[in-house]
Subunit: 166 residues, 4 copies
């Protein structure tokens, strides 16, 4: 199974999954850089929910997302699942940047605090995440979502487990 090449440009971005061979053959940081460059496809959830990776560094990941009417809950603001999805992605990727070749990670738990509501009019939001602690088998990270004026919208933490890819 090979990975379909994908353009890095937003308008022609390709979405799909990365093969197990690829997952095993590169470090977490190389994998994520390949997604950012468009060499690997982006995850389907990012297309569905209108968000994507924006920046990467060892121990750090930034995502951007665009809240819209399709994310609304019954009372007319964006559903908490949008912020949870963004934070889970960014915090998980921050951990993933430090996962060596041959290993993967899985999220054990996330916690999200909601500070301000999001609306369609909020416009693009930015989700920044950083590793707090990187152990051999367990890692923790935190993250926050801010709007274009830097106002805090939500923040969270995660606990991930590192394992050898079988």
């Amino acid at each position: 199974m090979s990975d379909a090449p994908a353009a890095g440009n937003g308008s022609t971005r390709q979405y799909g999954n990365v093969s197990r061979e690829t997952l095993k053959s590169v470090s977490g940081l190389e994998l994520l850089k390949g997604m950012l460059d468009g060499r690997y496809p982006g995850p389907p959830i990012a297309e569905l929910m209108d968000f994507g990776m924006a920046e990467l560094a060892p121990g750090r990941a930034v995502f951007t997302g665009r809240p819209g009417r399709k994310h609304y809950n019954p009372s007319g603001s964006v559903h908490g699942g949008f912020a949870a999805t963004l934070l889970d992605s960014a915090m998980g990727c921050a951990v993933h940047t430090l996962v060596p070749q041959g290993q993967g990670f899985t999220t054990l738990e996330i916690k999200v605090n909601y500070v301000r509501p999001m609306f369609e009019a909020t416009g693009e939001v930015r989700c920044e995440a950083a590793v707090i602690n990187m152990g051999r088998t367990v890692a923790t990270a935190d993250g926050k979502i801010v709007d274009g004026k830097g106002r805090l919208i939500a923040h969270g933490t995660t606990t991930c487990m590192i394992f050898d890819i079988p």
Copy 2:
């Protein structure tokens, strides 16, 4: 602004927002029953993410959802945001069933533990939530997601704040 009538039948389900007048004029339980019946539109996020309310009782809510390829993360399983969205919905609605007319609620925080991965082949999952404590200004609830064989997929808790609708 009036609420568009909506069929309760899945195939013709209507999605949108509920007017502020409606939100203020009914209790949480009446509002949610109206959504379940199709008298009020379902939330757009439910259409986007393929889930919906299935059962309601005072202090309790059950949602069902169908994980699919569109929810996948890069490594080929369902993104954690799907479970977080389902749990946030079910736990919030469990609280909402006990919110009296004239009041609303907002989610302060959620915590989600991931126990088993979901795939497209998992099929329909069920998310059951129940209120743990209902205070005058703060409420807590927990919830769990199980697959068709009753296996636990994820579980969580939430803290909500109750307020007077302005």
Copy 3:
């Protein structure tokens, strides 16, 4: 190093640590039953904080504690650390009852929700915990603290990691 025998009776209860040989040679349930019986010493923290194990079953643990003035915070009620300590103990022990011989566990994280304050006048409280999910390497549990009238005081969850005792 041998374990000092300890009486099960509260007034003559002995406190100390259990040797590594003992920890490796018995299952979690046998170890905890030995503490409940007084064959093994109780943990020093239980003496300091005035709490102890009351009941044990596979996947389940009950502790009792007595809040007092020594646990007070500046504003004249019991500090949140008392409930956190009780819940951490009970939830951890609930997991420990399912840990096989040769393995141990460590707590990755706890979350505690505070529902009602405790005072000296609250009298003895009861903390009941149960395993939610027991995996090979990760386990989760929840717990709650209630007063003598069954009123909820606090509740929580934990994520623990299971490992081979080196």
Copy 4:
């Protein structure tokens, strides 16, 4: 009811509660500075658990604590309740520094991640906490515990509610 004067010096530090009149008449920062100075008594839990406030600034609090054998759990390291108590204190006080005169706060929930064990030999640890978001009715903060070499031992977050003192 008056507050007993208390020396700021560790050896003669007085512990007790602060009167409701005092709690209502000063801001959170003034109250905490008075405790740091020794004008108000320290909380009994601090004496019991061997910790105390070390630094204060608006939105920030630092506590130090000394883990000892009396804090041990059965397996010979410090019980998780010690870190939870320290973090709850420091995070709560960080919030308290921003609570205006006439208002108080209560902790709705705490979450604590455990990174490294503590032993008697760990020596004095430092717990630094800072407010993440200060709203009118809800505040969040995070904190971490580090040892004398700056190694991370535990970290956490809290959600607090602000209310008018009745």
